[in-house]
């Protein structure tokens, strides 16, 4: 109890000191130099309609590569955390089977979700969304099929292969950027095309596809690890 009082008191006191600092914050009309440069040059230079994507994949491509790495590491980590457990999931505990509603709904929705996911990452350079969002949507489909019982055995090898290929491919595209264009992760070794069309933005869609595949595979792996081993007691 005393702990909670202290915690509350601390939060209040910090707030008391922090909130006055917001007083001077007004609306911005002008952006900073970097942002202005992006807005003025970015779309034309890279041929990507979605400037956020241009920033994410190209200008701050290293962040995104890191982000993929983080997810990759997290997925490996989750697998390792549960991997040290004895595989008692072999002795499948009797689990309540999914209801018919869930089962049918899942098989009905799965293709739609998968298609939507692919759409999201393929059109990442044009519309809001991108590799991550698409990958997550795909993974949610996988989760649904686990729940619905459509998928009983996880295709570990496939997931692993997808992860490896997508990850290595991403790095390879980055390196191609050095060799064929101006720098690491420079997408302009492919023609940038016309702004707004599907095949535009140089290698950006390619990168987003790889990211989407990788994220989908990794999150599926995480879901699988948690599903299989977390119920061991």
């Amino acid at each position: 109890m005393i702990k909670r009082v202290f915690a509350l008191a601390l939060i209040v006191v910090v707030a008391f000191f922090v909130f006055p600092l917001f007083a001077g914050i007004g609306e911005r009309t002008d952006l900073g130099p970097v942002a202005t440069a992006y807005l003025e040059e970015g779309a034309r230079a890279l041929g990507a309609a979605n400037l956020v994507t241009a920033v994410v994949v190209t200008y701050r491509g290293l962040d995104t590569l890191g982000e993929v790495t983080v997810l990759f590491a997290a997925s490996a980590g989750v697998a390792l955390v549960f991997g040290t457990l004895a595989r008692r999931s072999q002795v499948e505990r009797r689990r309540r089977p999914p209801s018919e509603l869930l089962e049918t709904g899942a098989s009905l929705l799965l293709p739609i979700i998968a298609t939507f996911g692919v759409f999201v990452f393929v059109h990442g350079h044009l519309t809001p969304g991108g590799g991550f969002q698409g990958g997550v949507v795909v993974a949610s489909g996988v989760l649904l099929s686990f729940l619905g019982g459509t998928l009983t055995h996880t295709p570990h090898r496939l997931l692993g292969a997808l992860e490896t290929v997508a990850g290595a491919g991403y790095v390879a595209i980055g390196l191609l950027g050095i060799w064929l264009a101006a720098g690491f992760l420079d997408p302009r070794f492919l023609p940038s095309g016309e702004i707004g069309s599907l095949f535009s933005g140089g290698a950006i869609p390619l990168i987003y596809v790889l990211v989407g595949v990788k994220v989908g595979a990794e999150l599926s792996g995480v879901i699988d690890a948690m599903r299989h081993r977390s119920d061991v007691s």
Partner: protein
């Protein structure tokens, strides 16, 4: 040169592709991974070479755009060095983890390891603030994942806490980034650093507060770092090594990037807290991992502190950044190595447990490589020479002193001392003799009867005690895999070589290399099984040659001491010719110690002096540790010695290095200038002299700080004790004289430091003699005797007159002679009788007559009975004391010399006279090799006694330049203002009065029957046993009774109370780390709050 981005792309690509390699077999995978790291290492080494050759930093723009638009990677020379060390540790660490016999890393573990590398590379190379965050998370998540595979189930709990804490840090970082971006409009760090003018309004404060807190929290600063320690405790030590070496190093580099934004005062405060607090907390750690963890967070705190020293706005910018980097790298290698040893040992005990046997870790004796590596790494971690950390620490400390940051200085040195305590306790634990339960700090008297009910075993028989003390020795096979061994040794070697190179760069090359060379050369001889006797001959020759070459370069007091160290050491080493053929490390350490002592005499700068001082301390510490039951004594010795060394360091730092200008080096200014420069410092000057005096007194074992001395001298091996007591104890004396007149600086107008020294000298003389009186163990008695004698030397020095100093030097020389003789004589006796307890001996005069004569002459000399040289010392001392007007001191010194007579008589009586025990009926005379040095010393003593002018006159000329004298000579007679002494005449008169009665007796004696043992007039009865007839045990019981409570061990009690207090303080501090992640979250927010207050100007 290779673009930086390849390093990241390479590591990441390998991580992605690793499953492919492993699919081809585990060996292939491991091999490929090792090769990959080696390639990375090669790249970074190439960078160092390229950048050192010239040219600007290597920059890599990503995506083909320049910096503010895209993210830049950049490698400067510093970065290249740091990356090289990261790669080195990574290479060794990977070898250690992947090639171990059980649960070696594979699969996703290897992948995560490479991800961790990517994260660290990125942290070092990126120049974009948000990108820093990404790489922070990459390394963080890789660590979390690897934690999940620890053997210890508690790792999950630890990991959870770590995640909560690091999540908070990340959030703070993001908040900071958001506001920074709003203020500056760029995320490029160079832009941000250059936009200080934009940080004006509330958002700017928020930006800095959150950013600073986040970076600091990522560095795991005390007192908001409980979670970090849980990781170190629960994680696989191999992982802890990477965490401590790679992660912390990379994060510290991030701190250096944003340094211009940070307030150095804030860093200083944070650094001090982060350095000092964990050391206190670590004192009671019973888990090695956690203890090393505390040390790690503290070391990073030191780096933060060092960076604050170099921050802009502080007058001496530019020194401390390299120092901080060196500290960082030193710590990375040393700590990683220690963790690898911990991983190989699989023994998590530290030796600080509360249990009776104190839960000592298993001994590494018999595994020389592991032992040497452990010692080197521990010494490197503590920042002792010649390892790189020492040079950096010296730099930091002297800079702190020069900027008069005395409080910070005190914290740094105090914290370092605490670190010495717990690291050395562990080192002593792993390197103690098998069979040593590391509790021996005083003599042990076995009980008459075994006490079956007494389970504590305090008084149990010696053998039983050893068997029952829960002593463990690391067994063959407990070391897991060769990987850790390779890694550890490699780390130690890298540290050693870089440290020696740094020493060369710092200008203390030659004396340092001689010491290191001696150490290494003889260690190699040990390794190829060259017998000790051969080594000893080489060592005597080597020391002799060093001394011979040194002598022409020296003059004055240094010359006297060089001869004392060189000749005294060489002669006593002759004794090594006897004894077992294989005594690993003995000759190596002894020679190194003597070489360091000789080096002291021609050290031409405070740095050189201090380096050699520390080397001398370390080598002698290891010598003590070699002893059969030396662990506890060695522990006390090193703690007190390093405490003294740190005081000395403080003195050097405070007085801006002018201190020893009077004493050393041909080009040094004279004593007058030294005094003048001290006087210019005012109070700080006096205090630094006081600190120095305290340091020297501690090293000399003056009363109050003498606790290390008895066991330190007594528990060393028998033939080493003499070297320690006769030669090593003179190192402190040398500093007294080398410091010339600085101790004459008054502390306050009324109290002079010299008169304090004088009183302490007298008190030491009396206390040492009194304690020597009540020892049953001969070596303890002699050890206390040394303490007492050194007390006289201090007293003589403190007189600060020509005569006093001549006395001091004279006493130093004679003490070296007779204490060497006594210890060697005793070594011979102990080696023959197998006991050190005097009452168990007796009547040995007939068995060991040559030893008896040697001991007899020595005790006559020690007690100052004319006509031998000891009297000369006494006479000079009292004359000098009375001239100075120190009458009370003189009377007390006289009293003390009477007490000395008591214990000396007891010594010779209970060993050589009285009744011989039946089991000693067949003992033989001591080995010739032990007798030779003694008789060489006898010759010297006789010569000095007969012709005192031979020695006193040169001493006078040595002192003359500093203190002019009023001593005149008439033939062989010394004449002072008070009295006179003609050693030659006294000798002749004594011979006359001795020979005349002898002839008389021989004439009138009639027939004299030689009778056997027990044929005594004993109330008409024949005594039963020698045991009941030999009056020896508790010889001066009545004396003890007379002095009553005065003889109780008050000082021991005082220090015990200090230890208890420290331990409870430690517990209070560590209780702050409750183990609850919510508490840790609270602490982190509190930390944020404090930083906030700092920025709002509320604090400081």
């Amino acid at each position: 040169m290779v673009s930086p981005v390849y390093l990241i792309a390479g590591a990441l690509g390998f991580a992605f592709l690793y499953p492919v390699f492993e699919a081809a077999g585990r060996r292939v995978g491991r091999g490929a991974a090792t090769a990959a790291i080696a390639v990375f290492l090669a790249v970074t080494v190439a960078w160092i070479l390229g950048l050192a050759a010239g040219g600007g930093p290597i920059v890599s723009h990503t995506a083909g755009f320049a910096a503010p638009l895209s993210i830049d990677l950049m490698v400067t020379l510093t970065d290249a060095v740091v990356l090289t060390v990261i790669n080195t540790v990574a290479l060794f660490g990977f070898v250690a983890m992947a090639f171990r016999r059980e649960s070696g890393w594979m699969g996703k573990q290897v992948v995560l390891f490479f991800v961790l590398l990517v994260g660290s590379y990125g942290l070092v190379m990126t120049r974009d603030l948000f990108n820093v965050f990404v790489f922070m998370e990459i390394s963080g998540i890789a660590v979390f994942g690897l934690l999940g595979t620890s053997r210890d189930g508690r790792a999950f709990e630890a990991g959870f806490k770590y995640m909560v804490a690091s999540a908070l840090a990340s959030i703070f970082f993001l908040i900071g980034v958001a506001f920074v971006y709003r203020s500056v409009g760029s995320l490029n760090i160079a832009d941000i650093n250059g936009s200080a003018h934009l940080f004006v309004d509330g958002t700017a404060v928020l930006a800095l507060v959150f950013l600073t807190t986040a970076i600091l929290v990522e560095l795991k600063p005390a007192p908001a770092n409980g979670w970090a320690l849980d990781i170190y405790e629960a994680a696989d030590p191999g992982l802890s090594a990477l965490l401590s070496a790679i992660n912390a190093t990379a994060m510290a580099m991030v701190l250096t990037r944003v340094l211009p934004l940070l307030d150095p005062r804030l860093l200083a405060v944070a650094g001090v807290a982060a350095f000092a607090v964990p050391h206190i907390q670590a004192l009671r750690q019973e888990s090695l991992g956690r203890m090393l963890g505390y040390s790690s967070v503290a070391q990073v705190g030191l780096v933060v502190l060092a960076l604050s020293v170099g921050a802009p706005g502080v007058p001496f910018a530019g020194i401390a950044l390299p120092a901080a980097i060196v500290l960082l790298l030193n710590h990375a290698l040393a700590k990683a190595g220690l963790f690898w040893i911990a991983s190989a040992l699989r023994d998590d005990r530290t030796g600080s447990g509360e249990a009776p046997e104190r839960a000592w870790p298993a001994s590494l004796r018999g595994r020389p490589v592991a032992l040497i590596a452990a010692a080197m790494l521990a010494l490197a971690l503590l920042g002792l020479p010649p390892f790189p950390g020492f040079w950096a620490k010296w730099n930091v400390v002297t800079t702190l002193g020069a900027s008069q940051s005395y409080v910070i200085l005190a914290f740094v040195l105090g914290g370092s001392l605490l670190e010495v305590v717990y690291i050395m306790r562990w080192l002593v634990g792993v390197s103690r003799s098998p069979g040593d339960d590391a509790t021996t700090v005083a003599e042990r008297i076995p009980a008459d009867f075994a006490a079956p009910d007494d389970a504590s075993g305090a008084d149990a028989d010696e053998e039983g005690e050893i068997a029952g003390a829960g002593v463990a020795v690391a067994q063959e096979g407990e070391i897991v895999g060769a990987g850790a061994a390779v890694a550890t040794v490699a780390a130690a070697l890298v540290l050693l070589i870089s440290g020696l190179m740094a020493g060369w760069g710092a200008g203390v090359g030659v004396p340092l290399f001689i010491v290191a060379g001696a150490l290494i050369a003889f260690a190699l001889l040990d390794a190829v099984w060259i017998p000790v006797a051969v080594q000893a001959v080489l060592a005597v020759g080597g020391v002799g040659a060093y001394t011979y070459l040194l002598v022409p370069r020296l003059a004055g007091a240094p010359l006297v001491f060089a001869l004392l160290f060189g000749a005294g050491g060489a002669v006593q080493m002759i004794a090594f010719l006897s004894g077992p053929a294989r005594r690993p490390g003995l000759v190596s350490l002894t020679t190194a110690m003597i070489a360091a002592l000789l080096g002291l005499t021609w050290a031409d700068s405070p740095l050189a002096l201090f380096v050699l001082w520390e080397l001398m301390t370390i080598s002698s510490f290891l010598l003590v540790l070699r002893g059969h039951r030396g662990a506890a004594g060695a522990f006390r010795y090193i703690v007190f010695s390093l405490g003294s060394a740190f005081l000395m360091l403080a003195a050097f730092a405070v007085s801006n290095l002018q201190l020893f200008a009077g004493g050393f080096g041909a080009a040094a200014p004279g004593p007058g200038e030294a005094i003048a420069s001290l006087a210019a410092l005012g109070r700080a000057g006096s205090i630094s002299v006081l600190l120095l005096a305290l340091a020297i007194l501690t090293k000399l074992g003056s009363v109050g700080v003498h606790l290390w001395l008895p066991a330190g001298y007594a528990e060393a091996e028998d033939d080493v004790s003499g070297l320690l007591s006769s030669i090593l104890s003179k190192a402190g004396v040398f500093l007294l004289f080398g410091g010339a007149l600085i101790f004459a600086v008054p502390l306050t107008p009324r109290i002079g430091i010299d008169s304090l020294l004088g009183w302490i000298g007298v008190a030491t003389a009396i206390a040492g003699a009194m304690m020597a009186l009540f020892q049953e163990d001969i070596k303890y008695s002699l050890a206390y005797s040394s303490m007492s004698q050194v007390g006289y030397i201090v007293l003589a020095f403190a007189i600060m007159s020509h005569l006093g100093w001549v006395t001091g030097l004279y006493l130093s020389i004679t003490h070296m002679l007779f204490k060497g003789m006594l210890f060697l004589g005793i070594a011979g006796v102990v080696s023959r009788t197998g006991t050190r307890l005097m009452y168990q001996m007796g009547g040995l005069i007939k068995r060991m007559p040559f030893s008896f004569i040697s001991v007899l002459i020595a005790i006559i000399a020690v007690s100052g009975v004319p006509p031998l040289s000891g009297f000369g010392g006494k006479w000079l001392l009292y004359s000098a004391l009375l001239e100075r007007g120190w009458y009370l001191q003189a009377a007390l010194a006289l009293f003390s010399s009477g007490v000395a007579f008591l214990y000396l008589f007891r010594l010779i009586h209970t060993i050589f006279l009285g009744q011989r025990k039946a089991e000693h009926d067949a003992v033989r005379e001591a080995p010739l090799a032990v007798l030779i040095p003694q008789y060489l010393f006898i010759v010297a003593i006789m010569a000095i006694s007969m012709y005192p002018n031979v020695i006193i006159k040169p001493l006078q000329t040595a002192i003359e330049p500093i203190l002019a004298g009023a001593v005149s000579w008439e033939g062989y007679a010394v004449i002072t203002s008070l009295g006179y002494w003609n050693g030659n005449a006294v000798m002749y008169v004594t011979m006359g009065v001795f020979i005349a009665p002898l002839i008389w007796l021989l004439v009138v004696k009639g027939r004299v029957y030689r009778v056997e043992q027990f044929n005594i007039v004993y109330a008409a009865e024949r005594p039963h046993t020698p045991q009941s007839t030999h009056y020896a045990y508790n010889f001066y019981g009545h004396y003890k009774k007379a002095f009553g409570r005065l003889t109780e061990p008050w000082i021991e009690r005082f220090w015990n109370a200090v230890v208890d207090l420290t331990r409870s303080t430690s517990h209070v501090f560590r209780s702050w780390n409750t183990g609850n992640p919510q508490t840790y979250a609270f602490q982190i927010v509190l930390y944020l709050f404090l930083v906030l207050l700092f920025f709002r100007g509320v604090v400081l």
